[in-house]
C-alpha cells in the first residue's frame, strides 16, 4: 500500500474505521434532520420565493424593471452571471484538476464543491436567459434546424460561445458529479432500512455491485472525465471573458482577460467552498474529515489566485498607461477616481489586499477568520465584475452618452433570489446526498488517517 510521509498532516482525524465513516456520512441521511436545517431551508426557500416573484415581475413587465439605460445595457444581470459562473469553478477544479495532480485532500471537499458548482452554474445560467428582452425566443441561440429558412446562429458572437461553453461545462460537471455519487448511493442503499429510501437510493445507484470490475471502471471513468473536465475549467471562464475581451469598449477590450478571469473564478470559487464547508463541517460534525489542514490548503489556493488577480489588476493599469490610448487610459482613471471609485476600491481591498493576510499561518488556520475572509472575497469578486461591466460602459467613447447606472429593487431582488435558490438546493443536497465522497475517503483512511499514521510511525520506529 501506498504510504505517506509522517510529516504530512493526517487528512482524517481521530480513530476512524470504515464503518465509522459510513456511519458519519450516511447517519444524517437516515436520521431526522436537525431543527437548524428546517430553519435554514425555510429562510432560504422564502428568499428563493421572493426571487421567483421578482422573476415573474421581470417577465411580465419587461427588462425596464431593472435600472439599465441606453448607455449601460448590462449591469447586475451579467455581473451576477459572471459571479455565479466564477463560483462554479472551484468544484471542477477540485475534482478534476486535483484528481489529476493526485491531491488526496480533495476527497473530503470535492462532493460539496461539485454540488456547489452545479447549483452555481444553474444560477449563472438563469441570468443570460432572464436578461434577454424576449426570453420566449431564447432557444434561438441554439443552432437548431428551424422553419425560418437558412437562419442560423452567429458563430462570431462570444455570447454564442458562452452558450456552448456553459452548457458543456454544466453537462460534464453534472455527469462527473453523478458518477462519483453512484458508489456512495449504493452504500446508502445497503445501509438504510426504510424500504422507501432503499428503493430510491437503489434506483439512484444504478445497481452498483461494488465488485472489483466496477471499481476499476469507476476509476477509469473518473480519470477520463477528469481529463475532459480539466480543460473546461480553463475554457469556460476564458470564453466568458471573451464577451468583454472581443468588444471595442475601453476597459473590456483587453487581452489579459482569459487568465485573469480564470484565476478570479478559482479565487471566488474557493471562497464560496470555504463559506459552505465551514458551516457544514460544524453542523454535520465533519470536523474529522474536513480538517484545519483542508481549510489551510484552500486558503493557500486563495492567496495564490488572489495574487494572480492582483497582478492582473495592476497589469491592466500599467497597460492603460503604456498603450497611450486616450480612451483606455481614461477608462482606468475613471474606474479608480470616477463616480464609481468606491466599487473599484472595494474590489481592490477585498481581492488584492485582504487575502494577503493568509501569509500568516495562524490566520489561514483560523476557521472563524477564514469564514469572514471567504465572505469578503466573494463580495470583492462581485465588485470586480461590477467594475468591469458598469464602469467601462458608463463612460465609454462619447461623453455625450456618459451616464450612471442605478439599480432598482428588482435588480437586488433577483440577485438575492438566486442566493436563496442556491442555498435551498444546497441544503437539500446536504440533507439527502452523501456530503463527502465516502468511498473515496475510505480509500485514504489507512494512509492518511490520523490513528493509522501514528501506528505506522510507531512501527517505523520499532
Amino acid at each position: 500500500m501506498h504510504s505517506e510521509a509522517a510529516i504530512r498532516e493526517p487528512l482524517i482525524l481521530g480513530h476512524k474505521t470504515y464503518h465509522d465513516i459510513t456511519q458519519d456520512i450516511v447517519g444524517p441521511i437516515e436520521n431526522k434532520a436537525p431543527r437548524g436545517w428546517y430553519v435554514l431551508i425555510t429562510i432560504a426557500a422564502l428568499i428563493a420565493l421572493y426571487g421567483v416573484g421578482c422573476i415573474f415581475w421581470l417577465l411580465s413587465k419587461g427588462i425596464g424593471v431593472w435600472g439599465l439605460n441606453k448607455t449601460v445595457d448590462w449591469a447586475w444581470d451579467i455581473t451576477n452571471f459572471v459571479w455565479w459562473v466564477g463560483i462554479g469553478h472551484a468544484g471542477t477544479l477540485i475534482s478534476a484538476v486535483l484528481l489529476l495532480f493526485r491531491q488526496k485532500w480533495r476527497m473530503a471537499v470535492n462532493r460539496s464543491a461539485e454540488a456547489m458548482t452545479i447549483f452555481a452554474v444553474i444560477m449563472a445560467a438563469m441570468f443570460p436567459l432572464l436578461h434577454m428582452g424576449r426570453l420566449w425566443l431564447g432557444y434561438w441561440v441554439f443552432p437548431l434546424p428551424n422553419q425560418f429558412g437558412s437562419l442560423w446562429v452567429n458563430f462570431n458572437s462570444p455570447l454564442l460561445w458562452d452558450v456552448f461553453a456553459i452548457s458543456t461545462y454544466f453537462s460534464v460537471s453534472l455527469v462527473f458529479w453523478y458518477i462519483g455519487l453512484i458508489p456512495d448511493f449504493a452504500t446508502i442503499r445497503d445501509k438504510v432500512t426504510k424500504p422507501g429510501m432503499k428503493k430510491v437510493y437503489g434506483i439512484l445507484s444504478f445497481g452498483w455491485s461494488g465488485n472489483a470490475k466496477a471499481w476499476t471502471r469507476f476509476e477509469e471513468v473518473s480519470l477520463v472525465l477528469a481529463g475532459v473536465a480539466t480543460p473546461l475549467v480553463f475554457s469556460v471562464h476564458s470564453v466568458v471573458s471573451f464577451d468583454f475581451a472581443t468588444s471595442v469598449i475601453p476597459g473590456w477590450h483587453t487581452t489579459i482577460f482569459p487568465p485573469y478571469f480564470v484565476s478570479g473564478a478559482v479565487f471566488s470559487g474557493f471562497a464560496m467552498v470555504q463559506t459552505l464547508l465551514l458551516v457544514m463541517r460544524k453542523v454535520m460534525h465533519l470536523e474529522n474529515y474536513i480538517t484545519v489542514k483542508h481549510v489551510e490548503y484552500m486558503n493557500i489556493v486563495i492567496i495564490v489566485t488572489g495574487s494572480i488577480v492582483g497582478v492582473a489588476y495592476i497589469t491592466e493599469l500599467f497597460i492603460s498607461w503604456y498603450s497611450g490610448v486616450e480612451y483606455e487610459s481614461y477608462a482606468f482613471i475613471n474606474r479608480a477616481t470616477g463616480p464609481y471609485w468606491w466599487s473599484y476600491w472595494a474590489m481592490m481591498t477585498c481581492n488584492v489586499v485582504s487575502p494577503q493576510v493568509f501569509w500568516f499561518r495562524n490566520l489561514r488556520r483560523n476557521l472563524a477568520f477564514t469564514f469572514f475572509m471567504s465572505i469578503i472575497v466573494n463580495i470583492g469578486m462581485w465588485f470586480e465584475r461590477f467594475v468591469i461591466i458598469v464602469t467601462s460602459l458608463h463612460r465609454d467613447y462619447l461623453p455625450s452618452s456618459w451616464n450612471m447606472f442605478h439599480p432598482t429593487w428588482a435588480d437586488a431582488g433577483l440577485f438575492l433570489g438566486t442566493i436563496g435558490i442556491f442555498f435551498t438546493l444546497y441544503l437539500l443536497f446536504a440533507r439527502y446526498f452523501p456530503v463527502l465522497a465516502l468511498n473515496e475517503v475510505k480509500s485514504i483512511l489507512k494512509v492518511s488517517g490520523e490513528s493509522y499514521k501514528k501506528e505506522a510511525a510507531k512501527h517505523h520506529h520499532h
Partner: protein, 1064 residues
C-alpha cells in the same frame, strides 16, 4: 302433450283476458303524457310530418353552419372606381402652408391612404425655401404639428359654456347670433393672432357688414409691438421687416434668438446657415445675450452680458456706429467695440437685430441699420412681412374695456390670452363681464373654457387657408384629410354669422379671383388657382422700391426709453424666452415636442430656471443633475408673483441672471388642453408639464416686457427630478469625436492642422528612408482586422454627411425622425432613466478651458486634468453634433449578436431585424456611438398611453405604415430610412433609370433646412454626399477604432480669428 312451447307475457295473456288482449297493440299500457310534455296542443295537431321535420332540420343545420363559416366583416370598402391619385401603399404629397401666429412656412404634407403622417418643408416653393439646396426649412414645431391633428382631447363639436356634450352647429349659430345682436351698442371685438390671410380679412369685413361695430384686435402671444412701433416711428410703417441674412457678412444680434424663435425663423435659419460654409465667404456673427440661446451657441463671438446691459449694449453700439459714444456705458462700449468695427467694415452687408420689445432699443437698432446702409440690402421695408401685427396697446385697452363692462361681444381666434397675457387675471375677470364670448379654439383651453361658446376650428391640415406672408408673396393651405370631428373652420363661422352661405374654400377662391384678376395671370384664373394649389404658393410681381427708407426716428428719446430697460438693482435679472420645442405654448400638448431635448440643456418635459453654474454653486444648489440627482427648487419672485421651479446649471448664462422658458404650465386649472400638456408626475398626480411663467411678463410703457430686473431667487430646500438626455457637459478634449478649427487655419490649407488623420506605426519602410522607425506610419483607414465588406464601388453604398458648420442644433431632424420611424414617446420618467428612444440625437458639447496641451504645459496630473475637463468654461463655445447609427462597415454590433439579428446589407446599411432580435443588448453595449435603443417595456400599453401616440386609436393614425411598431424586448436604431431607400430604388427601377442623386432623402436630411445633413450614394462619384465625404473637412467619428462608418462629419470652422483680433 303439445310439443310447441308457449310463452306468455302476463297472466292476462295466459288466460286470454279480453281487457288484456285489447291493449296488446299498445307498447305502453298507459297513455304517455306527451301533450303535457309538449304543452301545446297545436304542435301535436300540426301537419308537419317527419320529412318536413328533416327538411327543417337540414336547413337549420346548413344555415347555422354557413352562418358560422362566414368570414369576419371587414369594414373597408374597396373603391368601385379607383381614384386616380390614390394607390394604397404609395404616399401622396400635398403642398400646404403652416401658420400658427408664431411660425410660418410652406410645407409638404405626406398622406398615406388619406391620412396625413408627415410634414416637411416645401423644397420647391415658399419663403422658407433654401434655393441653393432646394430644401424647405421648417422647425420641429412645424414637422410635429401633424401629431396634434390626432389629439384625442380636441373638441368634437361646438360647446356651450358649462355643457359636457357638443351642441349642433345650428343651435350654436342661433345662440351666437342672438348674443351678437344683443351686443349692439357695445364694443364688439375679434381678438386674434396676426392675420396674414386676405380671405380671413375679407371674412372679417363681411362680418363687419352685419355688425358694423365689430373691431379687430390682433395679439401676438410673443409681442413684437416694440419692433413694429419702432418701425412706425423710424420709417412711418408699422411693419415687421423682411430680413435677408444671405447678404449679411456681419450679423450682430443683441439677444435676438433668430435661429430659434425671433422673427421669421423659417427664413433666417437657412439664410444664416447658407453663409456658414467656410468654402464661401463666411458671415461673422456676434451675439450679446444673458442666457445661452441657440443663436448664441452658434455665434462666432458670444459676449455674455446681463439682462440690464442688453439695452446699454445697443446704446453703446449706436455710439460706436454714429461716432458719438457720449453717454454710453463704458464697459459696454468696450464689449461692443469688436462688433462695431466689423459692422463698419461691412456697411450695407450687415445686419443688427435685437430681441428686446423695448421701443427705444428697436429705434436705436433701426438707426444703426440705417447708418450702416442695411435698408434695401439685408433689411427690406418695402417687401416687408405681414407677420407680428399685434398691438400691445390695443390689447391692453381691450382688457380695460372688458373690465369696464363696455365690451358686448368678444370673438377669440388663435390666441389664448387667459394663459399668456401679463394681466391674464384681469382678462379673466373682464371676460366674465362680456355678454357673448366665443372662442374658436380646438381645445377647451384656458381661454376657451371661460367663453360662452366654443366653436372649434379645424386643425390646419383639415382646412383651406390662404396667406399673404410678405408683400408679393401669397400662399395656400389645402386640407390633407376630411375633418375628423364636427368642427368648422373659424372663418366659415364668421361667414355664416355674417349671413353668407359660401363655403370658405369658395370664399378664398372668390377673394383671390377678385384680388389677382388684374395681376398678369397665366391663362385663366382657374389655371392660376390650380397652380397655386399645386405649388402651395403664388408669387405676384411687386414693383421694386424707388425711395430708400429714410430713418426719421428720435434717437435721443429712444436712448432715454432704452435706459428704462437698464434700470434695476435686484440680486438677479430674469429674461423669459421660448424654447425650440414648445414655442409660445400652443404646442405644449404635443408629445414629440415635449420629449424633444432642449438643444442646450438637453432637458425634456419641463421648464426650469437657467442659472450660471457659478450662481448655482454660490446658492449651494445641486450642480450635477441625473437620474437620481434631482434639481434644487428655488422660489423666483418678481414683484408680488412667486413661482417655484427647479434650477438647471446652464454654462454660458451670465452670472447674476436667470432665464425661464415660457409656454409651459398649460392646463393649470384642469383644462383639457391636449394629450401631453398634463402628465402624471413622479408623485402619481396629473400635473401640467412645467410652470406657467407668463405672469412674470409685464407691461412696460404699454409694451409687454420679457425681462425683469428686480428678481429674488430663494432656495426652497426641496428638489425636483428632471429628465435629461445628456448628463455630461463637455467633450473631454476628445479630438476624434468633435473637430473644430478657425477659419484662418482652415484657409491655410494644411489638412493635417485641423483634420489630422489617425496613423499607426508599422514595421515596414513606409517613407522610404531606408530605416524602419517611428516615422513609418500608415493611416488607420488602411488597416483592416477583418475581411472588408464588398461595398466600395459595388452597387449602392448609402451614406450621410453631416456638416458641423451647417448644423445649428435646432433638432428638427429629431422630430422628423420620430414621425417617419414611429419612434415611441416614453414620457418623463423613462427619459429621466435615460431611456428615450430617439434614433437620432443632437449631442451638445460645451468647451472647457482645460485641454491636454494645457495640462502638459502646466504639468497637471491626469486625474486633475480630467476632472477639470468635465467643467465647461465660464463663457463656453458650443458644438452640436447630430448622431445616428453610423452604419459601420466593420460594425461592432454585428459580430456580437448571437442570433445574427443585426447584419450588414450589400448597400452598406447596418440592418436590424426586429423579428429575429432576442434582446441580449450586447450590440448596444458594443456600439461605440451608443445609438442603439432598447424597448425596455411594451410602449404600446396603457402605462405609456398618456404620452405615446401609438396607444389610442386616434393617435395611431399618425403612424407610418411603412415602418413597423417595435414590440417589447427588441433593440431598434436608425435604419437610414431604409423604407425611403427602397421606395426610391423602386421608382428608379420602374423609370428604368439609375437612382438620381437627391431623389432619396432620409427624414433627417429632408428636415434639415440648413443642409447640414446630406444623404446619398457614396458609390456615386458625382453625388453630393460623395463630394462631401472626399472633402478636406470630412472625418469619421472615432476613426481610430476602425469601424469604418458610412456616416462622415465635416469639421466645424468658426469665423473667429479676425474677430479675436478685433476684440484684442
Amino acid at each position: 302433450m303439445s310439443s310447441t312451447k308457449r310463452y306468455w307475457k302476463d297472466l292476462g295473456e295466459l288466460h286470454q283476458d279480453p281487457a288484456s288482449l285489447e291493449g296488446r297493440g299498445n307498447e305502453f299500457p298507459q297513455d304517455l303524457a306527451i301533450d303535457q310534455v309538449l304543452g301545446d296542443a297545436s304542435i301535436t295537431g300540426a301537419s308537419t310530418g317527419r320529412r318536413d321535420f328533416l327538411k327543417f332540420l337540414g336547413f337549420s343545420l346548413g344555415a347555422a353552419s354557413l352562418a358560422a363559416c362566414e368570414t369576419p366583416v371587414i369594414k373597408s370598402i374597396p373603391y368601385v372606381n379607383k381614384p386616380e391619385d390614390i394607390t394604397p401603399g404609395v404616399a401622396n404629397w400635398y403642398a400646404s402652408t403652416f401658420y400658427d401666429g408664431d411660425d410660418y412656412a410652406s410645407i409638404l404634407v405626406k398622406t398615406r391612404e388619406g391620412r396625413p403622417i408627415h410634414v416637411k418643408g416645401n423644397p420647391r416653393f415658399g419663403i422658407n425655401r433654401n434655393p441653393a439646396l432646394a430644401k424647405g426649412s421648417i422647425n420641429a414645431r412645424m414637422n410635429s404639428s401633424v401629431l396634434s391633428l390626432y389629439d384625442s382631447a380636441r373638441l368634437t363639436g361646438p360647446v356651450a359654456k358649462g355643457s359636457e356634450t357638443p351642441a349642433t352647429w345650428a343651435d350654436a349659430d342661433k345662440a351666437i347670433a342672438a348674443g351678437l345682436a344683443a351686443a349692439a351698442g357695445k364694443r364688439m371685438v375679434l381678438l386674434s393672432n396676426t392675420i396674414i390671410s386676405p380671405s380671413t380679412q375679407a371674412a372679417i369685413t363681411a362680418l363687419k357688414g352685419k355688425y358694423p361695430t365689430l373691431e379687430h384686435v390682433q395679439y401676438d402671444t410673443i409681442s413684437y409691438s416694440g419692433v413694429t412701433n419702432a418701425n412706425l416711428k423710424s420709417f412711418g410703417k408699422r411693419v415687421f421687416p423682411s430680413y435677408d441674412f444671405t447678404k449679411a457678412d456681419v450679423i450682430v444680434s443683441v439677444d435676438a434668438d433668430f435661429l430659434s424663435s425671433w422673427g421669421s425663423t423659417s427664413e433666417t435659419t437657412w439664410q444664416y446657415a447658407s453663409r456658414r460654409n467656410p468654402d464661401m465667404p463666411m458671415n461673422r456673427h456676434f451675439q450679446f445675450e444673458a442666457r445661452m440661446s441657440l443663436t448664441g451657441a452658434n455665434a462666432d463671438v458670444r459676449v455674455p452680458v446681463k439682462v440690464s446691459e442688453l439695452a446699454k449694449a445697443v446704446v453703446a453700439l449706436h455710439g460706436h456706429i454714429s461716432g458719438n459714444p457720449a453717454g454710453a456705458d463704458a464697459a459696454m462700449l468696450k464689449a461692443t467695440e469688436g462688433a462695431a468695427k466689423a459692422l463698419m467694415a461691412a456697411k450695407g452687408r450687415s445686419v443688427v437685430v435685437a430681441g428686446s420689445n423695448n421701443e427705444g432699443v428697436q429705434v436705436l437698432v433701426n438707426s444703426i441699420n440705417s447708418m450702416l446702409g442695411n435698408y434695401g440690402s439685408t433689411i427690406d421695408l418695402d417687401a416687408h412681412t405681414h407677420f407680428k401685427q399685434g398691438d400691445d396697446a390695443a390689447v391692453a385697452q381691450l382688457v380695460k374695456d372688458m373690465n369696464a363692462g363696455t365690451v358686448g361681444a368678444l370673438l377669440i381666434a388663435g390666441v389664448n390670452p387667459a394663459y399668456s397675457l401679463p394681466n391674464a387675471a384681469e382678462f379673466k375677470s373682464g371676460l366674465a363681464k362680456v355678454g357673448m364670448s366665443v372662442s374658436f379654439s380646438g381645445y377647451a383651453d384656458e381661454t376657451a373654457s371661460l367663453c360662452s361658446w366654443i366653436t372649434p376650428d379645424h386643425h390646419y391640415l383639415e382646412s383651406w387657408n390662404d396667406f399673404h406672408p410678405k408683400v408679393g408673396q401669397y400662399a395656400l393651405g389645402q386640407p390633407a384629410i376630411r375633418p375628423l370631428f364636427d368642427t368648422r373652420q373659424w372663418q366659415e363661422s364668421l361667414l355664416t354669422w355674417s349671413g353668407s352661405t359660401t363655403s370658405y374654400h369658395d370664399h378664398i377662391r372668390s377673394v383671390w379671383e377678385a384680388n389677382l384678376g388684374s395681376r398678369g395671370l397665366v391663362g385663366s384664373f382657374g389655371d392660376t388657382w390650380n397652380m397655386a394649389v399645386h405649388d402651395g404658393v403664388l408669387t405676384a410681381p411687386v414693383a421694386p422700391s424707388t425711395a430708400p427708407a429714410v430713418f426719421a426716428g428720435d434717437v435721443a428719446a429712444a436712448t432715454a426709453a432704452a435706459a428704462k430697460a437698464s434700470s434695476g438693482a435686484g440680486s438677479f435679472e430674469l429674461s423669459l424666452y421660448t424654447t425650440e420645442a414648445i414655442g409660445s405654448g400652443q404646442h405644449a400638448n404635443n408629445p414629440w415636442l415635449q420629449e424633444m431635448p432642449d438643444p442646450l440643456t438637453k432637458i425634456t418635459w419641463d421648464n426650469y430656471v437657467c442659472m450660471s453654474p457659478a450662481d448655482v454653486k454660490e446658492l449651494g444648489l445641486n450642480m450635477y443633475l441625473g437620474e437620481k440627482a434631482p434639481a434644487s427648487v428655488v422660489v423666483v419672485k418678481v414683484g408680488d408673483r412667486e413661482i417655484s421651479l427647479p434650477v438647471v446649471p446652464t454654462p454660458g448664462q451670465k452670472q447674476g441672471t436667470i432665464a425661464i422658458a415660457l409656454g409651459y404650465g398649460r392646463g393649470e386649472n384642469g383644462e383639457q388642453v391636449g394629450r401631453a400638456a398634463c402628465v402624471t408626475n413622479h408623485n402619481g398626480e396629473l400635473k401640467p408639464v412645467g410652470r406657467n411663467v407668463y405672469p412674470f411678463t409685464s407691461l412696460v410703457d404699454g409694451l409687454v416686457s420679457y425681462e425683469a430686473l428686480n428678481v429674488t431667487v430663494t432656495p426652497s430646500g426641496t428638489t425636483y427630478p428632471v429628465a435629461i438626455t445628456q448628463t455630461h457637459l463637455t467633450d473631454m478634449d476628445r479630438h476624434s469625436v468633435v473637430k473644430e478649427t478657425s477659419i484662418a487655419t482652415y484657409k491655410a490649407g494644411d489638412k493635417s492642422a485641423y483634420n489630422h488623420a489617425h496613423e499607426l506605426g508599422v514595421h515596414e519602410d513606409v517613407n522610404g528612408d531606408g530605416v524602419i522607425d517611428a516615422r513609418d506610419r500608415k493611416p488607420v483607414a488602411e488597416f483592416d482586422l477583418w475581411q472588408e465588406h464588398p461595398v466600395e464601388g459595388v452597387g449602392h453604398r448609402w451614406g450621410l454627411s453631416i456638416d458641423l458648420n451647417g448644423c445649428i442644433g435646432c433638432g428638427a431632424c429629431i422630430t422628423a425622425c420620430n414621425s417617419e420611424n414611429n419612434i415611441p414617446v416614453v414620457g418623463k420618467d423613462e427619459v429621466r432613466r435615460s431611456r428615450e428612444m430617439h434614433w437620432l440625437r443632437v449631442d451638445r458639447y460645451f468647451s472647457s478651458d482645460m485641454t491636454k496641451e494645457r495640462a502638459k504645459e502646466e504639468g497637471l496630473g491626469k486625474i486633475d486634468m480630467y476632472l477639470q475637463m468635465e467643467v465647461p468654461e465660464e463663457s463656453p463655445t458650443v458644438m452640436f453634433m447630430p448622431v445616428m447609427c453610423q452604419h459601420c462597415n466593420h460594425a461592432p454590433c454585428e459580430t456580437v449578436c448571437p442570433v445574427a439579428a443585426t447584419t450588414h446589407s450589400l448597400e452598406g446599411l447596418n440592418q436590424m431585424a426586429y423579428n429575429r432580435c432576442i434582446g441580449t443588448r450586447y450590440c448596444a453595449n458594443n456600439c461605440p456611438y451608443k445609438v442603439r435603443r432598447f424597448n425596455w417595456f411594451n410602449y404600446v400599453t396603457e402605462k405609456f398611453g398618456e404620452v405615446n401616440p401609438a396607444w389610442d386609436d386616434l393617435g395611431r393614425m399618425v403612424l407610418n405604415p411603412d415602418v413597423v411598431v417595435r414590440g417589447r424586448g427588441v433593440i431598434e436604431k436608425c435604419s437610414m430610412c431604409v423604407q425611403q431607400i427602397q421606395a426610391g430604388k423602386l421608382a428608379a427601377k420602374k423609370a428604368g433609370t439609375p437612382v438620381k442623386d437627391g431623389s432619396i432623402e432620409t427624414a433627417c436630411s429632408a428636415a434639415c433646412g440648413t443642409g447640414a445633413i446630406v444623404f446619398g450614394d457614396l458609390n456615386d462619384k458625382k453625388s453630393m454626399v460623395r463630394g462631401l465625404a472626399d472633402s478636406d473637412r470630412s472625418y469619421h467619428m472615432l476613426e481610430e477604432i476602425g469601424v469604418k462608418p458610412n456616416v462622415n462629419y465635416l469639421v466645424k470652422v468658426r469665423n473667429t480669428e479676425e474677430a479675436a483680433a478685433h476684440h484684442a
